[in-house]
């Protein structure tokens, strides 16, 4: 049974069909790419997979340790609590908060004291706060942001903001990560660092990763399999070799060949 199973997902916005009948499967531990020309519906698919949009039809299922959860009708926060996290194309950090706070907020589900524990400062409060603080700092160390822990997120350089964006998603404890254009706006050196980074966290934290990217060097280098969307439809799926030579993919990007 595959880890993530998307079956015949369709999303209509009024008359516009943004995603049409898309089916795909991702195995546990895979690093998969999602590519396609602008407007193909990639981010919309992500939004469907993370609960931001409700599908017009079709299902999304997550199977882990023999248990299958239907994700398609869950609100975004429940999906995250089921181990699925995402980053945003336009970076949605908590700008006025520190780097540490950004990570702590994402770790909210590890906290067990409720409102009463907080208001009355019960021992569980101090215990859990200490735990969160330790865990958050450890995570920052893993992503090499630990010495910036009290910098406001808005004051970080762009590359580190993107790193923090990913760190936050990791902080939720997710096992399935959706990265939406993680390399957007990066120069070749930064992209190289990001590539290494993604490889490392995948290994260290036993993650399954699906990423949307326009940077073909990144995609071809690290993705084991690639899915291609065009006009909301899935037009190809396979290894990077297969995709590189796929006629429909080339046509989608470059238009039909003239004879």
């Amino acid at each position: 049974m595959s880890f993530l199973k998307v079956s015949k997902i369709t999303k209509n916005f009024g008359g516009l069909c943004a995603v049409s009948n898309v089916s795909l499967e991702v195995e546990k531990g895979e690093l998969v790419g999602l590519i396609g020309p602008n407007g193909a519906g990639k981010t919309t698919l992500f939004n469907l997979l993370t609960g931001v949009y409700t599908p017009t039809s079709g299902t999304i299922e997550l199977t882990d340790n023999g248990k299958t959860t239907k994700l398609s009708s869950l609100p975004p926060y429940k999906i995250t609590q089921n181990g699925v996290a995402r980053t945003f194309q336009n970076i949605r950090l908590f700008k006025e908060r520190s780097v540490l706070d950004n990570v702590k907020i994402a770790m909210n589900n590890q906290v067990h004291y409720g409102i009463f524990g907080a208001l009355l400062r019960l021992p569980s409060f101090y215990r859990d706060e200490a735990m969160i603080d330790t865990n958050a700092r450890e995570l920052l160390k893993k992503v090499q942001l630990e010495d910036k822990w009290d910098t406001l997120a808005k004051n970080l350089p762009y590359g580190q903001q993107r790193q923090l964006e990913i760190a936050r998603a990791l902080a939720t404890g997710a096992k399935l990560l959706f990265l939406d254009e993680p390399a957007a706006g990066m120069n070749p050196q930064e992209t190289q660092n990001l590539t290494t980074f993604i490889r490392e966290i995948r290994k260290d934290m036993d993650l399954t990763i699906v990423l949307i990217e326009h940077d073909m060097s990144l995609v071809m280098k690290i993705c084991e399999r690639i899915f291609v969307l065009d006009y909301g439809k899935l037009i190809a799926g396979g290894t990077s070799e297969e995709i590189r030579n796929n006629r429909s993919v080339i046509e989608a990007y470059l238009g039909e060949e003239e004879n």
């Binding site: 993370t50 931001v52 609100p75 975004p76 926060y77 429940k78 995250t80 609590q81 996290a85 995402r86 945003f88 949605r92 950090l93 908590f94 700008k95 006025e96 908060r97 706070d101 702590k104 907020i105 994402a106 909210n108 589900n109 906290v111 004291y113 409720g114 409102i115 524990g117 907080a118 208001l119 009355l120 400062r121 021992p123 409060f125 101090y126 859990d128 706060e129 200490a130 969160i132 603080d133 936050r168 902080a171 939720t172």
Partner: protein, 320 residues
């Protein structure tokens, strides 16, 4: 990192609060703070409770609520009706509890549908709720309609009020500096991102809203037992705006700011008392000026910290 409730920071604060209280009590007993000023202090104390509660809703969770006075009136009337029947300490306690209970139910009923709304729409909806509460109270027999309730036993006193005010500030600070507070701040910053981080935004928004409403209810009960008359128009939209002005002036998100602003505006109000209408004009003009020139208010996001104050003094001493 604090590991228990018995920390140096809490000790410092306790000393500070006890000292402050003692100072004020002494000044009152020596009649340096006369009866007139005492009433002002009581009002300031009540407004502190209202302001920090509203700040949790608006400043920390970003939910723009304009109906705060509605919850104050529920607390006021519940308490007034109860202590008129049982003019004892037990009655007072019961009155406050009844007020809290009714407020809790109403706040929950209001929160669940309306907190789905955003920004301006939420503001107007909460305004409507406040008005509905006022109109209902205006038309009920048990609340004596437009004439209001009078001869309410004045069971309140400065020590009691000071205690409640301090407790409110402490609880609000505890709310803010916790995972609950962090989640709420995340919601304020970017609700979509907060949801994506696994935060049940509806749950936390409701928590903050109910928390603020309960504090308003307590403030209302204390108000009723201080000023022996209450009328529906004391808790109208104008009152909600009064508290909003305090929160905005002090800095939305800064509890220290709310306390300071309550004090400052209370004093200014006092000084301008002889010029009643002019005072409101100045008030309004000042509000516009603050929003145009310094929208983050007096303190912005800043929170006063006693330990940090001593740390800085220590470092200055070492450097010298």
């Amino acid at each position: 990192m604090n590991t228990t409730i018995f920390s140096r920071k809490n000790l410092l604060w306790t000393v500070f609060i006890v000292a402050l209280f003692t100072l004020i009590e002494v000044l009152m007993m020596a009649d340096i703070i006369g009866a007139y000023y005492k009433i002002t202090l009581m009002l300031i104390g009540i407004n502190v409770i209202l302001a920090v509660g509203l700040n949790i809703i608006i400043g920390i969770t970003g939910q723009f609520s304009l109906g705060h006075a509605g919850f104050m009136s529920v607390g006021a009337y519940s308490c007034a009706i109860t202590i008129k029947m049982f003019p004892t300490w037990w009655g007072f306690g019961l009155g406050i509890l009844i007020g809290l209970g009714i407020t809790f139910v109403i706040a929950l009923l209001v929160a669940i549908p309306t907190l789905r709304l955003k920004g301006d729409y939420l503001a107007i909806a909460t305004l409507g709720v406040g008005e509905i509460i006022r109109i209902v109270i205006l038309n009920m027999n048990i609340t004596n309609k437009a004439a209001g309730l009078s001869s309410i036993p004045m069971l309140n006193s400065f020590p009691l009020l000071f205690g409640f005010a301090t407790l409110s500030v402490i609880l609000s600070a505890n709310f803010k500096n916790s995972a609950v507070g962090r989640a709420c701040i995340g919601i304020k910053e970017d609700e979509i991102a907060a949801e994506a981080m696994g935060i049940n935004t509806t749950r936390y928004k409701t928590m903050a809203f109910v928390f603020g409403a309960l504090l308003a209810s307590v403030a209302g009960a204390l108000y009723a037992s201080t000023f022996y008359v209450i009328k529906p128009e004391s808790f109208g939209f104008a009152k909600s705006i009064d508290i909003l002005v305090i929160v905005v002036f002090g800095g939305m998100g800064s509890l220290t700011g709310s306390v300071v602003a309550t004090l400052a505006l209370g004093v200014i109000s006092l000084l301008l008392q002889p010029f009643a209408e002019l005072r409101m004009i100045i008030y309004a003009a000042a509000l516009i000026a603050v929003m145009v020139l310094r929208p983050q208010g007096l303190m912005g996001n800043y929170e006063f910290s006693l330990p940090k104050l001593f740390q800085r003094k220590k470092r200055k001493g070492e450097g010298a």
